[in-house]
C-alpha cells in the first residue's frame, strides 16, 4: 500500500530530475521532434481522408465520411478497370528489377574482384560510379533523346538490322526494358560498392588454406567469396522485395506519356494523376494507403522467410 502511494510521486520526481539534468539535450532534440511531428506525423494523420469524402472547404476533419462505412474510395478503386492494369504494371516492373537490376551489381563486384589486371579494375570501378552522379532529370532527358526517331537507339539498331521506329517511348512493349535498362546503367556501379566492401573483409588465410587443399579459382569463388557476400545479398534482396509495390513515380513521370500508360502506368503515378491533376484527394489517398498496407505486409513476409532460410533478418 505504502509503495503504491509513493509511486506516482516517485515517478514525478524522476521525471523532474531527468528534465533538470538533461534540459539542454531536450532543447537540442526539440526541433528534431518538431520536424518529425510536423512533416511525418501530421501527414500520417491526414491518411484519414482515405475514408472520407474530402472537401477542401471543410478540411480534413470535418469532411463527411465516405459511403460504405468509409470504405467507398477503396471499393471504387477495386472495381475500377485500371486497378488490374496498374497493379500488373507495378508488379512486373518490380519483378524485372529483381531479376535483372538486382544481380547486376553482385556480378560486377565479383568480376572486379576476380580480375587480376588491377588497372582495369580501378578504371572500370571509377567509371561505373559516374552515372550515379547524374541527376534523374538529366538521365531521363538523355533517354528521351536516345529514343527519338533519329536517336542513338535507332542508329544502333540500324547497324544490327532492326527496323527503326518513330519513337521508342511510344511503344508500350519497350517501356519496361527501357526502365530497367537505364536503372541498371545508373545504379549498377554504385550498388556494387557494398559487395566489394564485404569481399574486401574476407580473411586471406582462407584463400591460402583453400589453395593448399588444391582449390582452383572457381572453387575459391564459389566456396569463399560468394558465401561472404551472401548475407549482404539476402539482406538487400529482402529490402528490394519489401519495395515491390513501391515503384517510384519520379522516373516514370519523366519518361512516360499517355500512349504507353498500358505498360508504364503504375500505382504511384496513378496516385499522382488522380490526386494532383484530377484533385480527387480522397480517392488518391485510398489508393496510396492500399499500396502501403500491401507493402508493409510484404516486408514482414520477406523478413519471415529470410529468417527461416538464413540467420539474416531486418528486425
Amino acid at each position: 500500500m505504502k509503495e503504491k502511494n509513493l509511486q506516482p510521486k516517485n515517478r514525478k520526481y524522476i521525471l523532474a530530475k531527468d528534465f533538470r539534468r538533461n534540459k539542454v539535450l531536450y532543447l537540442m532534440v526539440l526541433p528534431v521532434v518538431a520536424f518529425y511531428i510536423l512533416f511525418s506525423y501530421v501527414p500520417m494523420s491526414g491518411i484519414i481522408i482515405a475514408f472520407k469524402d474530402y472537401k477542401p472547404m471543410l478540411g480534413m476533419w470535418k469532411s463527411p465520411w465516405a459511403d460504405s462505412w468509409g470504405f467507398g474510395n477503396f471499393l471504387e478503386f477495386f472495381s475500377n478497370p485500371f486497378f488490374g492494369r496498374i497493379l500488373k504494371n507495378t508488379l512486373l516492373i518490380s519483378l524485372y528489377s529483381i531479376i535483372f537490376s538486382f544481380p547486376a551489381p553482385v556480378m560486377l563486384a565479383l568480376l572486379l574482384n576476380e580480375v587480376r589486371l588491377k588497372k582495369c579494375r580501378r578504371v572500370v570501378q571509377t567509371v561505373s560510379y559516374m552515372p550515379h552522379f547524374i541527376s534523374l532529370v538529366v538521365v531521363c532527358g538523355m533517354v528521351r533523346q536516345f529514343c527519338l526517331s533519329d536517336g542513338l537507339f535507332n542508329n544502333l539498331f540500324q547497324l544490327l538490322g532492326v527496323d527503326s521506329v518513330n519513337s521508342w517511348l511510344q511503344i508500350p512493349g519497350a517501356f519496361r526494358t527501357i526502365y530497367v535498362g537505364t536503372d541498371i546503367w545508373q545504379s549498377m556501379g554504385w550498388n556494387s560498392i557494398i559487395y566489394l566492401a564485404a569481399i574486401a573483409g574476407v580473411d586471406h588465410q582462407l584463400y591460402e588454406a583453400a589453395e593448399i587443399d588444391g582449390a582452383g579459382r572457381w572453387k575459391k569463388l564459389l566456396h569463399i567469396t560468394f558465401p561472404t557476400i551472401r548475407p549482404t545479398i539476402i539482406l538487400l534482396l529482402i529490402m528490394q522485395v519489401g519495395k515491390t509495390m513501391n515503384v517510384g513515380y519520379e522516373k516514370i513521370l519523366l519518361l512516360y506519356n499517355s500512349t504507353i500508360y498500358e505498360t508504364a502506368d503504375v500505382i504511384s503515378t496513378y496516385t499522382y494523376r488522380k490526386g494532383l491533376l484530377d484533385f480527387d484527394y480522397s480517392y488518391s489517398t485510398a489508393v496510396n494507403l492500399f499500396n502501403s498496407v500491401i507493402n508493409f505486409a510484404l516486408v514482414i513476409i520477406a523478413n519471415k522467410i529470410s529468417s527461416k532460410v538464413s540467420e539474416t533478418s531486418l528486425f
Binding site: I14, L15, R21, I49, Q145, L254
Partner: protein, 296 residues
C-alpha cells in the same frame, strides 16, 4: 604477360582476359551515353540531324548550342535557385541531423527511447503523396522555396549514419568537457563534430546531392517560373514540344534542328560540375556506404 607465356602459365590468364574484356565493355557502356551527349552538344545541328550510325565525334563543329544555353536566363535563374536551396537547406540539414544524432548517443536520458521510437516509425510509415501535399500547403508553404527546404530538413537515414560515427567517440572525452564546466553544445561543436569530420562530410554530400537532384517537390509546390530550381527548369526544357525551349531558339532559322543540340548542351552544362568533382569526393561517399552497411 610475356613473362607468363614463358612460364607456360598463359592458360591461367585466359579467364582474366575474358573478364577484362567484359569489364571494358561495361566501362564503354557506362561512358558512351555521356560522351554521346558531349558530341551532340558540339555538333552542328543540321549535320547532326542527318548523321547516322555510331557517333565517335561531333557531327561538324559548332558552339552555337553553348552560346544559347549560356545566354539562357531560365538556366541561370535555375542555378541561382538551386544554390539558394542548397545553402539554406544544408544549414537546416546539418544542424538538425547533428542535434538528433548527438541526442541519440547520450546515456541516462529518460526520453531517449520514446524519441527513438518516434523516429523509427517514420521509416516504415508515411502519409503518402496527397496527405503530405495537403499538410505542406496547409502550412502556407505552397509556391515558396521553403516547401523545398523544410519537409527535407532532415533524413532519418543520414541521422542514423551520423549516430554511428558519433558512437565511436569515447565517452571519457565528453565527461572531461563536463568536468571543465562545458555543456552539451560545447561537447558537440568542439569534440563530436570535429572528431566525426568524415561522417559530417559524407552527410553534407548526401544532402547536397539530394537537394541538387530534387525536382518533384518544386514541380508540385511552385507555381512561379522564376523560383524553379535547375532540375525543374531542365525537366521543362526536356519535355516534348517545350515552349520554354522554343522561346530560346525560335529566333534561329533552323530552330527545329537546334532542339537536340541545345538540350545536350544543357545536360553537359548542368552535369559537368558534378561529374568533375566526384572522383575527388568518391572516398567520402564510399565511406558512407560502408558505415551504413555496418549498421544495417
Amino acid at each position: 604477360m610475356n613473362k607468363y607465356l614463358k612460364n607456360k602459365k598463359w592458360v591461367s590468364w585466359i579467364p582474366d582476359v575474358i573478364m577484362a574484356a567484359i569489364l571494358l565493355g561495361i566501362g564503354i557502356i557506362m561512358v558512351y551515353p555521356v560522351l554521346y551527349e558531349v558530341f551532340v552538344s558540339f555538333s552542328d545541328s543540321v549535320q547532326f540531324v542527318r548523321q547516322r550510325g555510331i557517333m565517335v565525334r561531333p557531327a561538324g563543329f559548332s558552339t552555337l548550342a553553348y552560346e544559347i544555353v549560356l545566354n539562357a536566363k531560365p538556366i541561370w535563374t535555375g542555378f541561382r535557385n538551386t544554390i539558394l536551396v542548397e545553402v539554406i537547406g544544408l544549414v537546416f540539414n546539418l544542424t538538425l541531423t547533428s542535434f538528433g544524432a548527438y541526442f541519440l548517443t547520450r546515456k541516462n536520458v529518460l526520453w531517449k527511447k520514446p524519441v527513438n521510437i518516434l523516429i523509427i516509425i517514420t521509416m516504415y510509415f508515411s502519409g503518402g503523396l496527397i496527405p503530405t501535399y495537403l499538410t505542406v500547403t496547409g502550412y502556407g508553404l505552397g509556391n515558396s522555396i521553403w516547401a523545398l527546404i523544410l519537409p527535407a530538413a532532415m533524413s532519418t537515414y543520414n541521422m542514423i549514419l551520423l549516430r554511428s560515427y558519433f558512437s565511436t567517440i569515447p565517452d571519457s572525452l565528453a565527461e572531461s568537457v563536463m568536468m571543465d564546466g562545458g555543456g552539451h553544445f560545447t561537447i558537440l561543436f568542439k569534440i563530436f563534430i570535429p572528431l566525426a569530420k568524415p561522417g559530417m562530410m559524407v552527410m553534407l554530400l548526401y544532402y547536397a546531392v539530394s537537394h541538387w537532384n530534387s525536382w518533384f517537390s518544386a514541380f508540385i509546390y511552385l507555381r512561379d517560373v522564376d523560383k524553379a530550381p535547375l532540375q525543374l527548369v531542365l525537366k521543362n526544357m526536356f519535355a516534348e514540344e517545350s515552349t520554354e525551349l522554343l522561346k530560346l531558339i525560335n529566333k534561329f532559322d533552323n530552330f527545329d534542328s537546334l532542339q537536340e543540340t541545345v538540350r545536350a548542351a544543357m545536360m553537359v552544362v548542368s552535369t559537368l560540375p558534378i561529374v568533375c568533382l566526384y572522383p575527388f569526393l568518391q572516398k567520402y561517399f564510399e565511406g558512407g556506404i560502408m558505415i551504413g552497411s555496418l549498421k544495417e
